[in-house]
Symmetry: C2
Subunit: 219 residues, 2 copies
Amino acid sequence: MFTATEENYLKALFRLGALTEGGKGPAGTNELALELDIRPATVNGMLKKLREKGLVEQRRYGKILLTEAGRLHAVEVIRKHRLWETFLYEKLHFSWDEVHDVAEQLEHIRSVNLIDRLEEFLGYPSVDPHGDPIPDKNGRMPPEVRRTLAESEEGHVCRIVGVCDNSAEFLQYLDRLGLSLGLKMTITRHIPFDGSVELESAGIRMIITRKVAENLLVD
Amino acid sequence: MFTATEENYLKALFRLGALTEGGKGPAGTNELALELDIRPATVNGMLKKLREKGLVEQRRYGKILLTEAGRLHAVEVIRKHRLWETFLYEKLHFSWDEVHDVAEQLEHIRSVNLIDRLEEFLGYPSVDPHGDPIPDKNGRMPPEVRRTLAESEEGHVCRIVGVCDNSAEFLQYLDRLGLSLGLKMTITRHIPFDGSVELESAGIRMIITRKVAENLLVD
DNA sequence: ATATTTTATTAGGACACCCTAACTTTTTTT
DNA sequence: AAAAAAAGTTAGGGTGTCCTAATAAAATAT
């Protein structure tokens, strides 16, 4: 049905939030190319194919959106990826950082039964070793346990998954801080004095105020 | 290092006994093409590539032989295939006939640690669900338990893995019976009267004499 | 509003793997 | 030994996925 390459494109689009609804909004050709580490010209050609297959919607020179079919398949691939990661971590004792590359290959194995049986074997886990939720076989993500950055423990590695305050003011402020949806970070310290949180992301250390921390949802 | 396609060629050559030593001897381009269900012209091109990579030896218009490097890699792929089959059968409860197609994909997953950890997880099995031996990580097949057809139980599914008598007479006789190395069969009945063995292979039922049965090794 | 920069697209090419059709070499049959 | 059959090879294409270089459109800056 789908090639491994096509699946990787869908997955990347999903990651980039090509879903209209919440999130960062649709991605463009260049952004997708960057995400996949493939040249824009190549991506452009593949998008044509995905459009023809009804997986993606895009007007000339426009942003890319996953169709319902595209979204469903993207989620299916993510489900496979996360279940395989869980298998590697829990059953084969791979370390946190080793699982990804192998799961990247395993997620493309085609079989009617394989992934459901693997899920059963693993005891229907709800999150993978990175804490990411595992979608069910109908493409639904389990209700995420959303916690604010302020409640998160020291040393915890997490990602920004949403905000409590949706005001333009707050979002613009986040922008200025370099904080965006999906950003991965490590909670370095909770500072008792004023409730500030020290964190580290992409090699950069920063301190954010308690008020900001209370309004950032992390996983 | 190797593409999935290259690995499939190596595996097929190994199956066809392209090892000089015992067995059926080296295969030709056509035979390999038949085995892989790929046209001879295509196989010819791939053989050039495998020769350049030092995996195969072949003179113009000559038979194909695996080099030591080729043989080692073929065995490695077979090891992966059989360990994955064992996993699917024992842990995910796939049936005997479902495991092959999925293992055919899984055997090409690349990872330094994966297969050794899987082997450990499975408890170092020595044979796969079909009774085929699983090579160890150094490319050695475990000592096969070779039994003659005469000693084999009724209902047993097995393959001809060798002969006791190597005379031209006997081998020509086997040829006439349509019995060849690697042939899969089911032992239907042991006939007490004269020790004959009734068996079934590829939908054809036949009876062979006790003397022949005593000289055929099966797995 | 025009110039610049960024983003998207087109054109043309490469490589892996597959094909069919035609041809050559080797083997087998007569 | 010549004819026929089988096996191996070459020539020329096709698809999928990638590339670079050049161009067109849109967004941004002046």
